[in-house]
Subunit: 277 residues, 2 copies
């Protein structure tokens, strides 16, 4: 079913890394899972953390500092990979296409279609594996992510009403259908029919009605990728549809994990409020 790659005791819980043969992606996939101490007593809430371009399951697991706060609230953390991997899986020389850049969609275009199905992987296959095998409460899920992972978190949350109690994002790719971080990948994976893009654009989804729960977006004002992220489009949409939520622009912060870790406590607390309501 799955293999244990490593398990390390961490904040009285366990930070595990596991691998499994993914039917959806047609390759072996690796993910991280932090289980707090409370999981030994019974199912705990689960916060999904989706990572950005170039990342694996490992970056946030080692650099975001999330376990400290998850342990404080008795919440588990899932860290999926960002794409299918391995020989035989299509790739591209660019850092922002192919392996490490799955964009949380199901590709229908060649050469990506056979393996690049990160939407189904994160929305369906990996949840089934986690809820079947670990002490996790399927009725209490929340989701967050950084950059491309923020895009994934927002689009998954708005496309699955009722599944996630809350959604947050750190510097998300907020309007991919109007950005070079988006048009290139959506064209490659989904084709030129932009109707198919709409459910993978957080700003468009927000304009269509938003999310039935609280939303938290943090963005660094000195982010080197502001032109690509387009936070202004999402902020405007949040205001237009009167989405309950918080959008924060933080002076001086950039796109790095130093930004993510600085506000991780706020995000985990935000989700804990929703998960334990």
């Amino acid at each position: 079913m799955f293999e244990t790659v490593s398990e390390n005791r961490c904040f009285d819980g366990v930070q595990g890394v596991y691998s499994h043969d993914s039917d959806v992606c047609g390759c072996n996939m690796t993910f991280g899972l932090f289980l707090p101490e409370e999981a030994a007593e019974g199912p705990v809430p689960l916060l999904w953390y989706l990572s950005g371009l170039t990342c694996t399951h490992e970056n946030a697991m080692t650099k975001s500092g999330a376990q400290a706060w998850a342990a404080e609230h008795g919440i588990a953390l899932a860290f999926p990979d960002t794409s299918p991997r391995g020989e035989g899986v299509a790739d591209d020389d660019a850092y922002d296409l192919g392996q490490g850049a799955g964009f949380y969609v199901n590709a229908v275009q060649e050469p990506w279609a056979p393996h690049y199905r990160m939407w189904d992987y994160v929305a369906t296959e990996l949840p089934r594996l986690l809820f079947n095998n670990f002490a996790l409460d399927e009725e209490r899920q929340a989701i967050t992510g950084h950059s491309m992972g923020g895009h994934g978190a927002l689009t998954l949350a708005m496309n699955h009403p009722g599944r996630y109690a809350s959604v947050s994002a750190f510097a998300p790719i907020a309007h991919p259908s109007m950005s070079d971080w988006g048009r290139k990948q959506l064209t490659a994976y989904l084709g030129t029919d932009t109707d198919a893009w709409a459910r993978h654009d957080a700003t468009l989804l927000m304009r269509e009605g938003g999310f039935a729960g609280p939303v938290l977006i943090d963005q660094g004002a000195s982010d080197q990728f502001l032109d690509l992220l387009k936070p202004e489009a999402l902020a405007a949409a949040i205001a237009e549809v009167r989405q309950p939520g918080t959008f924060r622009m933080h002076e001086g912060y950039d796109h790095s994990y130093f930004f993510v870790s600085s506000f991780m406590e706020d995000h985990v607390s935000f989700h804990a409020d929703a998960l334990y309501r």
Copy 2:
């Protein structure tokens, strides 16, 4: 004097990386420095973090989670490298000798002597650079470290009475003159005269009188390197000389940064108590 490699806003302060030509090591050296927000108002206390085998300045800076707690207490963090680096600097194929394994001594044996002077670098040259160029209070210093860096922290602290207000260590190499993590390196760098080793062995220094301030040692009970670290020797010495301090053995924890980060809050709080006394 020094070059700025990067500066990232982090917990309302700045996580910087800087490089400089080291006279002591005869090569270019890189270090990390976290300055909390309070440093903009005037000099702040400084906690040194010395890293372990194979690490650079970067590992603890990205994986220990220390900035969260340092920011809370208004304390700066210095992250030196673990050895001289570069072409022309002697090295060894083993992970535990040469580059990445300076052991915080001044080598007198060839081929190490010209560059491997990490003792003088961490005790003298880097402090001068830091106190001359950043808003740091030389009268309020403390020191910690992990594994080989725990060895460095303890031996630097006990050899410089009055300099550091407090010393702590995560899974330190506690008795190197009686361990394969120690005998090999001390022989290579210092030669076979074991008298010269004594000031680089925390257990021997503790037996000679210990440290004039509080000591905190954390050790994982499932550490895969317990036989090499020899915590029992240091714990016994602490008890024998009635050293004020705390030695904690933590069930289930191993040697990884998941262990270090789990107890980092305690260490920073421990040093803050001494630095703000």
